[in-house]
Symmetry: C2
Subunit: 229 residues, 2 copies
Amino acid sequence: MNKLLGVLGGMGPLATVDFLHKLIEETPASRDQEHVPVIAYSVPQMPDRPPAIVGNGESPLPHMLAGIHTLKNAGAQAIAIACNTAHYWFDDLSREGGLPILHMADAACDALGGATRVGLLATEGTVAAGFYQARLAARGIECVLSSGDDQRDLVLPAIEHIKRNELVEAHALALCAVRRLLDNGAQSVVMGCTEIPLAIEYATSDVSAHCIDATRALARACVGWWRAP
Amino acid sequence: MNKLLGVLGGMGPLATVDFLHKLIEETPASRDQEHVPVIAYSVPQMPDRPPAIVGNGESPLPHMLAGIHTLKNAGAQAIAIACNTAHYWFDDLSREGGLPILHMADAACDALGGATRVGLLATEGTVAAGFYQARLAARGIECVLSSGDDQRDLVLPAIEHIKRNELVEAHALALCAVRRLLDNGAQSVVMGCTEIPLAIEYATSDVSAHCIDATRALARACVGWWRAP
């Protein structure tokens, strides 16, 4: 298993660390040498993703491509992107990056079990990109989205608190956002932004059991890639 | 501040994640772009460090050098090594790697304050290497080491538990090892193995206040390197 996983991170830095941690947790190993070899590029000096999708913000694509090229030159054979919103550029990154990319939304959908109505907690960029909705629809699953008010008052501030390492505030807001989706009929909620699991998992709660962690799902997919012959 | 920090990790993988997490915690930042840009090479498929120092185990030096060369080619301008024991090869890695390396023991000693008797919790490889003892002596500080029995029955098993992600067991053993050093007159204890802070910090305890975290000290030194003009 002489493979090397490249991780395109920095969006944000804490989410990258969370992904790397979950990659370890999802690996059956009793010593160092049994863990997935990784090279992680976490250079957060790039434009924010959502404004480039929903507004007229500068595109982060050249920065992300530079990251993938760096990882490829360093020997990576496949890429995991530790940011849901960045998957808006998945096709460009796959084509111009020259390496297979494990798609986080595919991994998350594989973890859904038998739910027929699934909530999505994500940035406005990921919601606008539509790659979660398309995958859920293809599986015959109805997607429940946060209202515009909830997106503005709960989801977005929760993510911003995480980026400032303010976990208490982020936890309360994210919890509330999940509850609203469950109240609207979602049986499960995909935490489709890598900052959201950090907020939800800050403390134990009754909503955790309903949450699907896209970050952990991607980590599991990466372990599968590494262990496959 | 167009610098890139290279992290030589994988020794072990969880300690690398802990270092990256502490790097974020030690960075004053309110958004992604204010965090230290990092590329981390965490390839744990290399020989264990202690047997190469105290026994006749295969040397990990070629693997570590390959990691530093990969990081240098990827644009890193300085290296942090997220493993105390690996600093046994510091001179070789500095000379043949071609990049400045921030020394973890220098960073830890800078965090000691006014202690005159300091305990060292470390692998047998780090203890045999002597770089902590030399630095403490140069500052006129007496070094208190674990007894051979405590090294075998407490320190080593604590580290092995961490590498298997068995935090409860590791915590109890590491706590006991710190208490023994304090009982022997140490005023502070340097956690001079990157697995030890993971064990100690798993739960709150009265010994934490006496512990100096070499991993966090190195993270702080790296933030200083990045922010320096």
